[in-house]
Symmetry: C2
Subunit: 329 residues, 2 copies
Amino acid sequence: MQEKLFSIGIDIGGTNTSLGLVDLNGKILAEAYLNTRQFNHPDDFIEGIKEKLSPIIQQFGKDKIVGIGIGAPNGNYYSGNIELAANLPWKGVIHLKKKMEKALALPTTLTNDANAAAIGEMIYGVAKGVQDFIMVTLGTGVGSGFVANGKLIYGNDGFAGELGHVIAVREGRPCGCGRRGCLEAYASATGIVTTAMEFLQQEEKKMDVAIPKDFLVDVWRKNKTVTSKDIFTAAKVKDPLAFEIFKFTGDILGQTLADMVVITSPQLIVLFGGLSLAGDLLILPTKKSMEKNLLSIFKNKVSIVPSHLNHRNAAILGASSLVFQQKLS
Amino acid sequence: MQEKLFSIGIDIGGTNTSLGLVDLNGKILAEAYLNTRQFNHPDDFIEGIKEKLSPIIQQFGKDKIVGIGIGAPNGNYYSGNIELAANLPWKGVIHLKKKMEKALALPTTLTNDANAAAIGEMIYGVAKGVQDFIMVTLGTGVGSGFVANGKLIYGNDGFAGELGHVIAVREGRPCGCGRRGCLEAYASATGIVTTAMEFLQQEEKKMDVAIPKDFLVDVWRKNKTVTSKDIFTAAKVKDPLAFEIFKFTGDILGQTLADMVVITSPQLIVLFGGLSLAGDLLILPTKKSMEKNLLSIFKNKVSIVPSHLNHRNAAILGASSLVFQQKLS
């Protein structure tokens, strides 16, 4: 019988950091949370993590813990550093792996959040046993992890898998990265809000004539803005504009995925993150657009499925699985 | 000392088939050629190969030959079949691996020509020892082989790496695959001729006024068409239109490569095939366009280099290396 082993997963987000102790079956046995923004310096942040982790490590036994896996924006697998992450409160290059290993004396592995999610999906989720798949995280931004031959592609510099920065619309919308037309500018929570605002501004021009009474228009008239949650709610009450917004988003996401399929020929595309909670509202138009745009030899071969992992736990599982993946491979 | 071992490489092209016996250092010790089109049935073709190979196998000793590697259009690594290859004289699915193993009693490996070239480059060429690179073959069509974590990506169905069918220009030129705007419609030998014809037709509208006397215009006036060779020759005599054509082609190729770099983060992009013989004429505008379009974290990290393998031998080497790669990995 396999000895009972554990790993620690830490998911560092711009607002919250979640940490947990996980067993080989993906069961979270202890967890804790920190407010990322309350730490002005990465050293204080690591001290904060240490405070939370120490009692957990003591309880389960340090010799039973194989290591710490961390998923973080711009986390680099090779260097173990967080490099120039726009959404974190600390600037520049943070030598996180080195600092963590010094603070906690446990082997530490770092990667970006989308890569961690991909490995989590490969070990515990719908991609279990799948050799070739693409993990797409649709959150505030768009991230991805590409798995080929059963291994995550880190690439030459550790930054591979930036699907959010493939140009989906040549000379399209401005993106946070400084370029134009990136997938992230369309298929993220912020992208879908931009789409809604564009559509609503077009509606406004017609309003004096048509005066539609739909949900989103009402919200917009009241607040002069809408949120991604408003768009979800509008779709639930069958606002036609909300369906149009999801169709537009799915069209663009599907086109870009069709271009990715010819490169890595995945068995599966897994969607994860806030926007993926829209489920079929997003997946159906995405799938339709992908199939329409696919090179014929790939048609009807690639599934698009939502992650089945609990969204709150998935980040911890993904990060913790980094360690198990290394140990078991 | 390592025993002297050999492998046989066969490159099946629409017009010619080349075969050769190769040692571990990539030295071709015997070779032969067939006219692919003279065989009406794949069984006759295999008989033809057997006739050419038998004396070579006898000379070097069957027990010293580790196997046969074949690169062919639409060759599938997993199934060992050629599936629906538009450029070959035989239709449908050809069980090539099975038939070859029966005919010659040597283990046989099949893949598509661009994948074979990628492995050849990894074993004998500029990508020796490189874990992450993209091989791009710019011939009549555009093919590619993506290598990540030191392994070629075959994908779930064995057809991965179809860079030629990434959409470079949304709703662009018609492509042979039935869709529009594929990279192949722009960055292949046929694509560059289409570009030249488009440019020349635009020139014609201005001709009554300007009457340019440049090389390509002259060829076109005489023949009402141009070839890719004419475009090369025109560039050599410094015809400005030829430079414009290469710049246009490099712009589009560079844009598409920028989108690929964010996915697999290669150390190197290797160009191979007829169009790559244009060298800096094509590489400089491609590199410039790729850098301009790259997400900033990837800027100035990725080299674009021409293959250094002799073009006549490279196909045999690539195919033969399929066998060595399997044996040595």
